[in-house]
Structures are given as structure tokens and as C-alpha cells.
């Protein structure tokens, strides 16, 4: 039997991080597993590339927080090279030249916030405690297969009852705040606690990442909460930088998957899932090969999982309609720089310890809302929100000694531009981002050795994420938990027997979280036992 015809127990389509996690769990359970990746490297949107000689860029995804701690343990990721470097600081420059600089000391942060508002410094602990309680309440939901709201099966009804009991045991304030996060705007919540623009600007930035909302939009609370659900060493809301970037992390996942016996085949794009009598039996590769397995798992986003890999005519019309209307509308871009040295912030001359975490260019809710306004009407932001990080200050192996890489996550950059297209606007976006940075860090331009601009269109073209949505589908309440990616199909199964989904478009995706990959494997293994 040739390699092309080898029979596997399970095939995972897509070597993004969820595909790798899924394949690793399936292989660990004893299934002969093949992971197929269309590109020359695994990782999907979590890759690191040497796009300029000696300089390693986190082309797309750029930091780590949400990866489920149980996956780290169960897949023995430390043994396979996991190394999450602490990101201890956040610098939030202001348009008047001042700044908010937070670090890892509680009282130093208190005094730094008090420099802007004593009331905000006082509120900071209350806000953090409230947020931690809400995160702690939601955490079990992140780590379990969500119940099927539409099932009459006794098991499912029991799980719904468990969920109800869990909610009922929350203290009223935590439950109320949870509902506010899930339905309201981040700005409303932040207004309850804080008064200063810079504090609210910084804290609201988590409420818009990857999403077509502004901090004052209903739904931004959910985005904020989601980003606080991550943790580093048990501390909610902390972020880390994996050695070698998120590409370094997905290499760790690949090694883990292989250590459990999974095969990974690169340059192996899948054109379709082969099904027979309503049952998936294999995949057809773009090169014409066919590979067969009892279980086929798509780690791609819902549009490609349901509308491209299989014939939609094999699916219920409601599902096809839901997926057709599922919102992607990517609004994020990356601009990555190779730098000759570290920038200097005028108010803190000679201080190069400012850059060991995030640099948050979003000095007020108004600033971010104005950036959003441009996107609402089909343009990219003239003064964009930027979540930047000079990653070489954490990992010197990213660059030649003494040089640096700067990763800039940029919003808002709507996938569909009103009067232009991204191939025409790519470098204009790069200039806009560079000019914005120059306005905060004079002489920034002099440091730039090289620039890579990655638009939503580039994300879609390179990685495959529809409309360049980094979460494989918007974080909108009607697209979460019970409904991710569609009502009744939130448990990783599909209407085609033996065909499953495990991408970030399923619960609890997106971000580099691994939960969908793990929970889908749990579902598959459970189904196989029945």
C-alpha cells in the first residue's frame, strides 16, 4: 500500500494550533492519526518566520495566554520545549507625552495609576477582584464540551441542569457582572470603576481585539472578558511570549503530537472530504491523492468546514444558512518591523526597560472609538489602535544581537474597504502605522530596517482564515458557546457521521487556546466508544 493510500484511524485537516492539539489527543488515545497541513510549516496563524535575514517575525499571532493549562500538562508540553517568557510591563503612551507604565508590583502600579487619578488607583483592586471572580466563574465552561441546548437527550438535559446549578451558586454580584460582560459594552463597565482616559483606554483595549466593535459597542464586554480568561501561572489576564514566538509554541505542539505517534504531512492541502452514504471516509488532497480514515476532523474555520470541504447539499439547509451568515468581518492587521535599536520615549529618556511587555497605543476610549469610526464606514483607521511588543527584549534569539523586532497588532482594518482594496492600500497602512508610532516615539523612523505589512486579505490568502478574522469567526454573543458555530452544532460533530470540527470557530475558540482541539478530541473518543 502506498503512503497515499495508507489507512488512518483519524485525519485532521489543518495543522493550526487546534489541529495539532486535536491530533495530539487523538494519537495519545491510541488512534493512528494524520495531520494534514497545506503550507510548508505547521502552526496556521501561530507561526514565526525569518522574513528578513536574521530577524524572526511572529507574522500573525504574537503572544500567549489562553492556552488551557490542562493541555500544557496532558500533552507534556514542557517536555517538548514549552517556554513561556514572562511579559512584566505595559507601557501606555499618551498623546500629551505623558504615559501610564504598569509592572508587576501591586503598590507601584497603585501609585502610577494614582498619578493620573487617585480614584482610579483605589478602584483598580476592586475592578481586578471583580474580574477575577467573573473569570473564575466562567473557567469551567471553557474547559468542558458545552451542552446542546436543543437536545432532549437525558445526558444533555442533565448537563444543562449542571450549568444552571453552577450559575445559581455564583454570588449575585458576580453573576450580574458576568451578564453585563456578556451583553454590554466594556466602556459602561469601565465607567463604573474609572475616570481617567489613559486608564480606561488601556483597560478597554482588550475589548476590541480582533473584533469589529468599539469599546462603547454592545458586545465589547464579551471580548474584554474573553481576553482576561487567559492566565500565566494561575494569574488571570496575564500574557506571555513563547520562546521563538507563537511559531515556537506550535513547533512544541507538533513535537508533542509526534511524540504520541501522530504523523504530520506538510504541503498537503485538502480539497474535499470524501463521504459515502452520509459518512466521512477520507479526504482528497489537492495533489490528487486520497487518504482514508474512520474519523475526519476539520480544524479550518466554519465556512471552509461546512461550505468548502463538503458539499453543502449534504447538510441541513438551516445549518448552511447559519454558516453562510456567520460573521467573520476581520478588522485586524499586523505590521512587523525590524529595528536597528530600541526607541526612546521622550518622557522617560534612557529607559529601555519599558519594552518588556506590551506597548499599548490606545490612550483613551475616544481615541479607540474614533479609530473604529473609520472602519464603520469602510476605511482603515487614520490613527489606529496598536498593540505593540518588542519581542527581542524578551527573547534575544529573535534577532541578531543588539537588534530588535517590533510586532504591531493594528486595528481597525476592515476586510472590505469601501473605495479601495488591500493590495492597493497595504503600504499606505504600513505608513499610517509607522507615522503613528513616530508621533509617540520621535525618531522611530530612523530605527526601521525593514517592514512587513499583513492585511486581513493577506491573512486570508496565507492562512486561509475567512475574511482574515483571527478568531475564525466573530466573538458575538449569537456566535458563542451554545451557538458556536451554529445552533445545535456546538459539540464538534457535524451532520456527516465521522466528520468533526475542531477549529477556533468552535467553543472555546479563538486565540491560541487549544480548547476546541482538546474538547473535539474528547467528543470523538467518546463517540468511538459508543
Amino acid at each position: 500500500m502506498s503512503q497515499a493510500q495508507t489507512k488512518y484511524d483519524a485525519i485532521v485537516i489543518g495543522g493550526g494550533h487546534n489541529g495539532l492539539v486535536n491530533g495530539a489527543y487523538l494519537a495519545k488515545s491510541g488512534l493512528k492519526t494524520l495531520i494534514l497541513e497545506k503550507r510548508h510549516l505547521v502552526g496556521g496563524a501561530a507561526i514565526t518566520e525569518e522574513l528578513y535575514p536574521g530577524y524572526h517575525f511572529t507574522t500573525f499571532s504574537y503572544a500567549l495566554s489562553l492556552i488551557r493549562p490542562d493541555i500544557v500538562q496532558e500533552l507534556e508540553l514542557v517536555k517538548n520545549g514549552l517556554l513561556v517568557l514572562n511579559m512584566p510591563t505595559t507601557l501606555a503612551p499618551m498623546e500629551n507625552g505623558d504615559y501610564l507604565f504598569l509592572g508587576s508590583d501591586h503598590y507601584a502600579n497603585y501609585h502610577e495609576i494614582a498619578r493620573h487619578s487617585k480614584a482610579d488607583a483605589e478602584a483598580y483592586d476592586d475592578y481586578t477582584t471583580m474580574l477575577n471572580k467573573v473569570c473564575h466563574a466562567v473557567k469551567p465552561l471553557f474547559d468542558q464540551i458545552p451542552p446542546n441546548l436543543f437536545s432532549q437527550e437525558p445526558d444533555e438535559l442533565a448537563r444543562l441542569a449542571d450549568l444552571g446549578r453552577h450559575m445559581r451558586h455564583l454570588d449575585p454580584k458576580t453573576l450580574h457582572m458576568l451578564v453585563r460582560f456578556l451583553t454590554g459594552s466594556a466602556a459602561e463597565i469601565l465607567d463604573d470603576y474609572f475616570e481617567s482616559d489613559i486608564v480606561k483606554g488601556l483597560f478597554s483595549s482588550s475589548s476590541i481585539i480582533g473584533s469589529k466593535v468599539g469599546p462603547r459597542s454592545q458586545g465589547s464586554g464579551l471580548v474584554l472578558l474573553f481576553h482576561k480568561m487567559g492566565e500565566v501561572d494561575g494569574a488571570f489576564g496575564e500574557w506571555g511570549f513563547h520562546k521563538g514566538g507563537n511559531g515556537g509554541f506550535t513547533q512544541v505542539l507538533a513535537r508533542a503530537a509526534q511524540s504520541f505517534g501522530a504523523d504530520i504531512r506538510l504541503n498537503a492541502g485538502v480539497s474535499s472530504v470524501i463521504s459515502k452514504n452520509g459518512e466521512a471516509i477520507g479526504v482528497a488532497l489537492e495533489n490528487g491523492d486520497e487518504v482514508y480514515a474512520d474519523v475526519i476532523v476539520s480544524a479550518l474555520d466554519p465556512r471552509r468546514t461546512f461550505l468548502q470541504l463538503v458539499d453543502p447539499r449534504e447538510l441541513p439547509t438551516d445549518l448552511v444558512e447559519d454558516i453562510s451568515k456567520y460573521k467573520f468581518q476581520g478588522v485586524s492587521a499586523k505590521v512587523n518591523f525590524a529595528l536597528d535599536g530600541l526607541p526612546e520615549y521622550p518622557a522617560l529618556p534612557g529607559r529601555f526597560d519599558l519594552y518588556r511587555g506590551f506597548i499599548n497605543i490606545g490612550p483613551s476610549i475616544d481615541y479607540i472609538e474614533r479609530a473604529f469610526d473609520d472602519a464603520k464606514y469602510g476605511s482603515f483607521s487614520k490613527r489606529p489602535y496598536i498593540d505593540a511588543c518588542i519581542q527581542s527584549t524578551l527573547d534575544p534569539d529573535m534577532t541578531p544581537p543588539g537588534k530588535h523586532v517590533l510586532s504591531c497588532f493594528v486595528q481597525y482594518c476592515p476586510y472590505e474597504l469601501k473605495d479601495s482594496d488591500w493590495d492597493s492600500e497595504r503600504e499606505n497602512l504600513g505608513d499610517t502605522v509607522q507615522n503613528t508610532l513616530e508621533s509617540f516615539f520621535p525618531n522611530f523612523n530612523d530605527l526601521v530596517l525593514h517592514r512587513e505589512v499583513v492585511t486581513p486579505l493577506d491573512i486570508e490568502r496565507t492562512v486561509g482564515l475567512s475574511e482574515g478574522n483571527i478568531f475564525a469567526g466573530e466573538f458575538l454573543a449569537p456566535q458563542m458557546y451554545f451557538f458556536r458555530p451554529a445552533p445545535g452544532w456546538n459539540q464538534y460533530r457535524t451532520p456527516i457521521r465521522g466528520y468533526y470540527q475542531c477549529g477556533s470557530g468552535t467553543h472555546p475558540g479563538g486565540c491560541v487556546i487549544g480548547g476546541p482541539g482538546k474538547l473535539a478530541a474528547q467528543q470523538i473518543i467518546g463517540d468511538m466508544k459508543q
Binding site: L82, N86, D105, G234, D395, P401, G402
Partner: protein, 399 residues
Amino acid sequence: MVKKTPFFARTGPLNETMLWEHWAGYLVAQKYQYSELYEYYSVRNSAGLFDSSPLFKYQIKGADAADFLRGVLARDIGQCPVGRAQYTIWCDDHGWILEDGVVLHVDDDEYWLTAAEPNLRYFQNLSHPYEVTISDISEEYGLLALQGPHSRNILKQLTPDAEKLAYFELSSTQIAQKNVVLSRTGYTGDLGYEIWVNKDDALAVWDALMEAGSGYNITPFGQKVLHMARIDAGLILIDVEYHTARHAWVDEQRSSPIELGFSWMFRGLQEDSRPFIGRRAIENELVSRSSRWHLVGIEVDWQRYENLYNGLGLIAPKDHTPIEEAMALYDGEHNWVGHTTSFMFSSVLKKHVGLAKVAPYHAKSGSPLQLELVVNNRPLTVAAKVVKMPFYNPARKTA
């Protein structure tokens, strides 16, 4: 008045936290910056610089230096040629450990030894029959530890010897035109070097290292991170894993080298006829297997640890601050079988790990244990097991 090390003119201004400790009468940084994890990950991913000058340093010199040390130190220094260093221990007549340290064989008849406590009188009292001079050179030299995966890349810019040194080798060389003794040793379990420099040349060497390391994120690190790193590496610490027998009152306070895991130092003892202090007792313990306990590594069951706290409505804490005090260990029937000596959440390993003394019957790798934690002021236990040390042991350490 607390003393300052030869590097204080540099370390002083660098300590933004102003958190200092006294170590052997010297002022040393507990940590330099608010985030000790940044310092920790410098040791694990780039390069960290540590001022270990407060260690006591002795020069043992003379025609009988080797002969003298072969009788005083339990591990055979005769196996350590010029240009090599050796980790060693010394014991009393009853085979109880007095101290551990590193010996550098710097010249034909000359050794340098580091120790955590004063030992001049002890060694001098034993030296009379020998042609040997023991001098306290503690204040003449500054001592730095450059540790981490990029330590070699930094040092090789300053001396060609850096690339030549194998694990536990040393050389007399120059850094910034200053004479130094460079050894490939350390207390972090990582690739690393230690640098002895005359106190008058200390700042020049510090500056040269910081300059050469600037492209590699060289970061000074303090005591806290040293302790975190040494637990990762499974390295023992005086007054934590053991107390010197010299000042002990009862045997419960004393430890034998076998109990501390140093049996490996006595492999081939049958072929080694030298008399050394404590030899008979050590031989007896090896033959009769009379050790009261063994020092082992333990690892907490992460899932049960999470469940324990979640069940109480709490977030499970993952504190990387070492707890260098006893926490009780039990078997499945809640019989007391030992205690931890050091315990922490290792950020690099993503696990709670500890060094522990347990009864020999429970010392086998994989042995199940119950670790007592105090949660909400109540003693509760969580599942743990014995694991092999070092917990963290990158190939680069010895490569």
C-alpha cells in the same frame, strides 16, 4: 555596619526595588527589578549576572595541598587535575556533613575553595602535619556568576577560553585586560560560568560583561531567582536541605552525605584507599543501608491541586517564591514519612516541585505521597509523587 561587595558601585544603582538582604555580612540584592520572573527567564533564556562575592573563599597552597585536601574532603580531589573544578563536601568523624562547596584546582600545588560559612579555623586546625598554607582570600576577590544559554556567547567576546571550557573546567585568563579565573560552574543548573576577579578589577570586569551582554539581554539577578533556579536544578542549600554538623546538638539536625543523595561521590571507594574524615561512618552507612531518610524530588499532582482549591471556591495559587521550610509528607494511611525542605511552583516546569527528605522506603521514583498544605488556615493534603532530580536539566548545561 554591613559590608558591600566589590561590585556594589554597580549593583547598588541597578536595584530599582531597593530590596536588599544580608548574606554573610554583605549587602546583596534580593531582586533588582519588580519582576523577578524577568530575571528568572533571563537565566533560562538569555543570560543573568549574579554577584556571589559574599561566599567565603580559601586558598590552599603548598607541596602537600592535594594530600591535605584528599584527607579533609570526602570526595577525592585527587581525581581533579589542574584546570578542573570539583563539587565537594566535607564531613566530621561520624560521617555527618559539615558543608559543601566547589574546589578549583588552579595550579600544581594550589586550590581555591568556596564555602558558605567560615571554615578557616577548621581547615587550619587540620593542616599542621602538612606543608600547606590556608589563606582566607574572601575579601581579595569578587566573584560573579554569569548563567544562562547566552553566557558563552557573551564571554567569548571577552576571552577565547570561554569556548574551550568544558563543564567544570577552568582557566586563568583575562577579561578587559584584567586577570580572572574563569570556571564553567554555577548554581542554576544551566549553561554558566563563574568569574573570580581581584576586587580592584571588579568593576572593569562587570562593565565588560554588561557591555558584551547588552545584545543578549544580560540581566542582573538577585537571591530570590538564585533560589528558584537552584530548586529547578535540584541543588541543595546549607541551612535549608541540611545544617552543618559542627553546630548541631542532636543527630536529627545532622545529615549524612548518603542521605543527601551523594552516594555517587563514593562510587569506587573500594579502589580508593585514602583515609578521609568520616570515611568509616560513610562506608558503614553504605554497607548497612542505615540511612534514616533520602533527599528526593517531589512533584504535586497538578489536577488534584487545582481541584483542591477549586472545591473551596478559590483560585489555585501558583507561587514561584520558594518555601524553604518543612511541609509534612504522609503516606496513603496518613503516616508521617518525611517533609519538604524546599518547595515552589516552577514557572519553567509549570509544576509544583520540591526537595524533600523521606524515609528510604518511600524514596523510590514514583512513590506516592500526600503533601500537607495549609489552605484557609486548615491542614489539607494533596497527592504528590517522588520524581527524579534535577527537575530541570537542559543539555546545554554540560554540552
